[in-house]
């Protein structure tokens, strides 16, 4: 029997892994500088949102499924990050 091809999502996922590592380091660096403020907060949260989408789409493979499934996770992500942002602005008074 022929050997099945190596699934070609591996390469994409390796790049995604690398990107996730870099983004994590950026978040950590921002944390270490002790910066605060709206722009910093939005950057950090935005980074997290992008990372979650990467994991959901590539690692979890949702980009190869019907939009319904992707939409549930994306909708959840937008809702949660949106409410976190609202709470942050509320904290500024």
């Amino acid at each position: 029997m022929d050997k099945p091809h190596k699934p070609h999502f591996i390469r994409a996922c390796t790049y995604i892994w690398l990107a996730l590592i870099i983004l994590t380091c950026i978040t950590y660096a921002i944390g270490e500088t002790g910066w605060s403020g709206t722009a910093v907060m939005l950057t950090v949260l935005g980074t997290a949102v992008i990372k979650v989408e990467m994991v959901a789409s590539y690692f979890m493979g949702l980009r190869r499924t019907r939009w319904l499934w992707r939409g549930i996770v994306l909708g959840w992500l937008i809702l949660v990050s949106g409410l976190i942002t609202i709470a942050y602005f509320k904290s500024l008074g």
Binding site: D2, H8, L20, Y28, G31, M41, V80, L83, A87, S91
Partner: protein, 195 residues
């Protein structure tokens, strides 16, 4: 038919793994989501307390743990890829590596908890620590549960229980493990970094 490279471009009706695990994953996302939002609003009412207490967290161990989980998650991607080629042994090896990193995560986390409890901090210290401890403890339990699931799958893979045609079990475990990673990706910046 497996040789057809187009196979991977296909749009699937359901996400990878058993649909039941996805019902479970969505419920978990909902539970954590509610907790994340509750944290954010509790913080809005106690900004100073939260910012002050957050200073005492060990951001470095939190960041290392993020890297550990992301890498572990990536190993599960490789495990699924391996079994899709019918390679049981490499699949089991990738899963074993993912579990190994799971232990690293737990060890770092335990050290962090130990330092926290040694400082006399408990759930009742203040609202920030209540959230910090319960969110991370709750996530900690999920890491353990994920590792148990992965271990069961690894043993079955070692026995040759999966094949290129039948590997839904591996995908089920991988999906759950990715969720554990996904939640930590939000938890870390939310609790350790954002101020």
């Amino acid at each position: 038919m497996i040789n057809n490279p187009k196979v991977t471009h296909e749009i699937h009706a359901t996400p990878p793994g058993d649909l039941a695990i996805w019902v479970f994953i969505f419920a978990e996302l909902l539970a954590f989501g509610v907790f994340f939002v509750a944290y954010a609003f509790a913080r809005a009412n106690n900004v100073e307390l939260f910012n002050e207490s957050q200073q005492h967290l060990n951001r470095t161990s939190g960041a290392i743990n993020t890297l550990v989980l992301i890498t572990s998650s990536y190993f599960m991607v490789r495990a699924v890829a391996a079994i899709k080629q019918g390679l049981s042994k490499p699949c089991a090896l990738w899963i074993a590596s993912a579990i190994g990193l799971g232990f690293v995560f737990l060890a770092i986390k335990i050290a962090e908890f130990q330092a926290t409890f040694a400082a006399g901090i408990s759930l009742s210290t203040n609202t920030f620590y209540m959230f910090y401890l319960s969110l991370t403890l709750f996530h900690f339990m999920h890491v353990i549960l994920g590792m148990v699931i992965l271990a069961a799958i690894m043993l079955k893979a070692l026995r040759g229980g999966y094949s290129a045609e039948n590997h839904i079990g591996v995908e089920t475990g991988a999906s759950y493990w990715h969720m554990v990673d996904l939640l930590w990706i939000i938890l870390f910046p939310l609790v350790y970094v954002i101020r």
